[in-house]
């Protein structure tokens, strides 16, 4: 052995490290990846704080702190090396905060952060092991647990509907406001901010475009095909600028841990999210369609990953033939198109198959409601004159002063050969969550014999209270030209009780009490209870009364619950329309 040479080497290089190649590593670390995501969320966060004020900043701070603290404490308790330095908990916290309304009490972001990190992430093995996006899972948890505060959106202290709610109700949406983030939405509602952040993240290599593009493209295509407004750009942009579809597509769906790992899988996964979001928006509850779509898609990621393992380049078709000339269609785009097409065909098929049964069911529902509102009749027939009058309306809005009221049909209820009464089916297009259709029973002398709803999708616990007997029964037995809605906040017992069963219980009841104490201008004589009955009774006995005041189920101005007043007004307008129609067109028999 040549000892001198060996000694030389040993003397100078004390003890060289041994390891497998490669001996270089790039600078990117998990911490830097997370930092890039934080930076990219900054524009949207800044707009959110600017628009919503200091409280929004507090929500963000609490959310991030509780997320990071939860992970730190978890690591401490389980005696694992702390993992908070990788920054993933901070990212989860910020993402969660950005999809909360700005007005939530601070315990909401706190609990959300704890749930996201502890339940969704740490208990499933920490970074890289969670099977659902922690921020979205926490948002859904908060929605279920704190429904009222999670759906209360205020701008300058005034509560109002989100662009998405406006969209669902068929109201116009200010697209530009929603795009820049000035409409009342979640803190991270600025589509512009999200897009800027997304572009930054794409440029630094944090995300690829496969997921965002396939989500947005398939969603747009779906809404265009099935949204009922075709490919009207205003309608499509309104959809794209509301309900967090852009935030979902760019930041939530692209979470690497809960998305597939390769390009083809990304496209499949993106299309699933886009189409599910579309289904939930168009056919289901519009709110949170994106959240549910993404966490649902998260669940199928392992399957996508397993079936979309890319083949080595050498095993792909034409690999040995080399470069082809001519236009090569991007494969992903073709796949995307095919998937959307198949989904579209399937859904059209479902519609076609279910169309008849649904129509039959609706007919049966109508008949049942006719019997309900016109007791005593054993059959219902069309009256030629009245039907002709309905035809003449040609499906347009009926009269003036009734809002968007439509007369659907009028039938005559008979028992034997005796006319018992009439039923007018009327629809109001002014509902908060869609159309309200009801049947109004009217006796030959013009007295309301009952009302029944055949279509009522109003917000649970709010507008839906219109369907409660306490509200409906106020109309029964009254003969009047016109019902009016009490605007003063006189709260009747029945509606309060109904409110008591809803989950907004304490808040609504509390304010109702205050309200009843403050009233008195409307009906000083009546107490807090039994007001409606007393009032109704009084008016019924007086044939001279031209107008009857009806109380709302709950009043917006006081308890801040939006929609209920709107719903009540829509119903009252519809009933007035029915009465007006009856008076105008019924000939004889009076």
């Amino acid at each position: 052995m040549n000892q001198t040479t060996q000694k030389d080497a040993v003397r100078t290089a004390a003890k060289p490290h041994m390891s497998a190649s490669p001996h270089l590593r790039n600078r990117l670390t998990t911490g830097k990846v997370m930092l890039e995501v934080l930076l990219s969320l900054l524009p949207a966060a800044v707009v959110g704080v600017w628009v919503n004020g200091f409280h929004a900043f507090l929500v963000i701070a609490v959310c991030m702190l509780s997320s990071v603290a939860t992970e730190a404490i978890f690591c401490l308790v389980t005696r694992k090396p702390t993992t908070v330095t990788d920054g993933s908990a901070a990212v989860t916290g910020l993402l969660l905060a950005l999809c909360l309304p700005a007005s939530v009490p601070l315990y909401v972001p706190f609990l959300g952060g704890v749930f996201a990190i502890l339940v969704v992430k740490c208990l499933f093995g920490g970074l890289g092991k969670n099977f659902m996006n922690p921020a979205l899972a926490a948002r859904c948890f908060l929605l279920i647990s704190f429904g009222s505060v999670m759906t209360r959106y205020t701008v300058d202290g005034v509560s109002c509907a989100t662009p998405l709610a406006d969209l669902a109700a068929g109201r116009p949406v200010d697209i530009m406001q929603a795009f820049w983030g000035f409409s009342n939405d979640v803190i991270g509602g600025s589509v512009a901010g999200m897009l800027i952040g997304g572009i930054y993240l794409w440029l630094v290599g944090g995300i690829t475009l496969h997921i965002p593009v396939s989500v947005l493209a398939s969603f747009t295509l779906f809404v265009g095909l099935f949204g009922g407004h075709g490919f009207d750009p205003a309608y499509l942009f309104a959809h794209l600028c509301s309900g967090g579809i852009v935030m979902g597509a760019v930041f939530m769906a692209t979470d690497p841990v809960t998305s597939p790992t390769n390009a083809f899988g990304h496209v499949v996964y993106g299309c699933i999210i886009g189409i599910l979001s579309g289904i939930f928006r168009v056919f289901g509850s519009a709110t949170d369609s994106v959240s549910y779509a993404i966490i649902t898609a998260n669940l199928v990621v392992p399957i996508i990953d397993e079936y979309c393992i890319p083949r080595p380049y050498g095993l792909r078709s034409g690999a040995q033939e080399g470069k082809k000339k001519g236009i090569v269609l991007p494969k992903e785009a073709v796949i995307l198109g095919v998937i959307t097409l198949i989904a579209g065909i399937c859904l059209s098929g479902v519609y076609a198959v279910t169309k008849e049964p649904i129509a039959r069911q609706q007919q049966a529902a109508s008949l049942a409601s006719y019997q309900e509102v016109c007791p005593g009749a054993d059959r219902f027939d069309y009256d030629d004159d009245l039907s002709a009058a309905v035809e003449a309306l040609d499906g347009g809005v009926y009269g003036t002063g009734f809002g968007k009221a439509y007369i659907n049909e009028v039938v005559v209820g008979t028992a034997g050969d005796q006319i018992v009464g009439y039923v007018v089916s009327v629809t109001s297009g002014d509902g908060v969550e869609g159309d309200i259709t009801l049947s109004v029973g009217i006796s030959a002398d013009g007295t309301v014999t009952g009302i029944a709803f055949t279509e009522l999708n109003e917000t649970p616990g709010m507008g839906s209270l219109c369907g409660e007997p306490a509200f409906k029964d106020q109309f029964v037995g009254v003969k009047t030209d016109r019902f009016d809605l009490s605007g003063s906040g006189l709260v009747i017992d029945g509606a309060s009780e109904a409110t008591g069963t809803a989950d907004t219980a304490s808040g609504a009841t509390g304010t109702a009490d205050t309200a009843s104490g403050a009233t008195g201008t409307a009906d000083a004589a009546s107490g807090a209870t039994g007001t409606a009955d007393a009032a109704t009774g009084a008016t019924t006995s007086s044939d001279t009364a031209k107008s009857v005041t009806v109380m709302t189920g709950s009043s917006t101005e006081i308890d801040g619950v939006s929609g209920a007043t709107k719903s009540s007004r829509a119903v009252v307008n519809a009933i007035n329309a029915a009465l007006d129609f009856f008076r105008t067109y019924k000939k004889g028999g009076m």
């Binding site: 040479t5 080497a9 270089l24 590593r25 998990t30 080595p312 095993l315 690999a319 082809k324």
Partner: protein, 448 residues
């Protein structure tokens, strides 16, 4: 000229500025030269000398054992000191021939004598290549006479001289192309005589403008040889990367380049072919780079095979001042082998000694986190594999999945996935271990 490239790949810091403009100088080989019997892929060579024999420069001291094997030649004159086990670059003791240098550099008869090569038949050219002990000079060391004798020489469309030199720090191919462009082109023309339907392409990464200019000038007026510039990206110099960059063709698992009509040879090999055929020179020296931030004066050397690594280091002025360097690499930092010492002899396929002050691997280990499934590893894999899933299967010892579903055995060990991984997972290490385990199981099964 249009730049071409392959799918995937990474951009490690090049570090080529350290040595790229330093012209070749001769490296004094020292008193003792060590020739491992296995410097190539295939069977180790059989010694044809005994202890005490006098040997001359260019004399065959070990001969090929079978077709896939290569002769080994002495690079100095002197006496055979021993036939014994000496540590190789891994630090493992392997059979070597040890020659004591007498400092006379007396050449064996006929070595370096110009020969008329215009009338040689393809078979004669191949025989000369085989007789000169030429193996791939780029790293793998595949015997060249085997590569140049595909089943159907007429089907070869492209003969590529690989001057990409994508490995960081290494610059000896660059210098070779700058200084010996005409010999490389002449070598290409010789090889093209074996492959009647092929066009010769010398492939150079765009970060070597001087080499591109020199080789382009040498190609002027040549009908069958041209230069192709490719993008600077690692591992552009990989055989498969070069083929897909130039032709868009990708090899199936188990395929050889000739199966898609391509043959790739390192530019050093091409020059060796020229020297062997036209000057009867066997492979007794090679171009070599000593570089890295742990070397005092990085340089390019002409090294006699068998010279211990430590002599190359001495020729480069020794280690840089300051702390002892943490990494000694045979080759470059992406695919090089970390060496426990510098006593091994430089083989025909060793192209560099890279000395790194800091060990990035150890530093990365401290920053390791769980896999975040970001998918960067599969984005950069030049073969289109899914390293993240491979690592998962390896962890579960699911070898069937590793091999059949994920094609893990196809991995070329370029290390892109490991370089790029933000979670700093030791992927390459896992794959090397897993491959070794699977091969061991296969050998066991075959033995049954």
């Amino acid at each position: 000229m249009k730049k071409l490239t392959f799918k995937g790949g990474v951009y490690p810091p090049e570090g080529k500025e350290l040595a790229r403009d330093i012209p070749f100088r001769d490296c004094p080989p020292g008193d003792e030269l060590i020739y491992p019997l296995s410097q190539h892929i295939g069977k180790p060579a059989k010694p044809v000398v005994a202890k005490g024999d006098r040997v001359l420069a260019g004399q065959r001291i070990a001969e090929a054992d079978g077709f896939v094997s290569a002769h080994i030649f002495c690079s100095v004159s002197g006496r055979v000191k021993a036939l014994e086990n000496r540590p190789d670059v891994f630090g493992i003791n392997v059979p070597c021939i040890v020659v004591e240098n007498d400092g006379l550099y007396e050449k064996a008869e006929g070595v370096g004598v110009p020969a008329d090569c215009t009338a040689l038949t393809p078979q004669e050219i191949l025989a000369k290549i085989r007789d000169a002990g030429i193996i791939g000079a780029g790293g793998a060391g595949f015997p060249t006479h085997v590569k140049l004798a595909p089943k159907n020489p007429d089907a070869v469309e492209f003969l590529m001289a690989n001057g990409a030199e994508c490995e960081p720090y290494i610059t000896c191919d660059d210098q070779l192309m700058r200084t010996k462009a005409d010999e490389i082109v002449a070598g290409m023309e010789l090889m093209l005589r074996l492959l009647p339907n092929a066009q010769g392409i010398i492939v150079i990464e765009e970060n070597k403008p001087e080499a591109i200019a020199a080789v382009s000038a040498a190609c002027a007026g040549k009908e069958r040889v041209r230069v192709q510039v490719v993008a600077t990206k690692y591992p552009q110099g990989g055989e498969r990367s070069i083929i897909s960059a130039l032709t868009g063709r990708y090899l199936k698992p188990g395929m050889l380049p000739a199966d898609v009509g391509c043959i790739v040879e390192n530019v050093g090999t091409v020059r060796n072919i020229y020297r062997a055929v036209c000057f009867n020179e066997p492979v007794t020296e090679r171009t070599f780079t000593v570089s890295g931030d742990g070397v005092k004066s990085p340089c390019n050397l002409i090294v006699k095979t068998g010279t211990p690594f430590v002599k190359a280091l001495e020729a480069a002025g020794g280690f840089a001042d300051g702390d002892a360097p943490e990494k000694l690499l045979c080759g470059g930092p992406m695919m090089g082998i970390s060496m426990p010492g510098l006593s091994a002899g430089i083989c025909k396929n060793n192209n560099a000694l890279t000395v790194l002050r800091r060990d990035a691997v150890a530093a990365a280990q401290e920053k390791q986190t769980a896999c975040i499934r970001c998918g960067r590893c599969s984005q950069v894999c030049p073969l289109g594999l899914v390293p993240q899933m491979m690592a998962d299967a390896a962890k579960k010892h699911d070898y069937a999945r590793y091999e059949k579903k994920l094609y893990g055995l196809d991995c070329i060990a370029c290390g892109c996935c490991t370089f790029v991984c933000p979670a700093k997972r030791p992927l390459m290490q896992t794959f090397k271990q897993t491959k070794a385990e699977i091969m061991a199981i296969k050998r066991k099964e075959a033995a049954k």
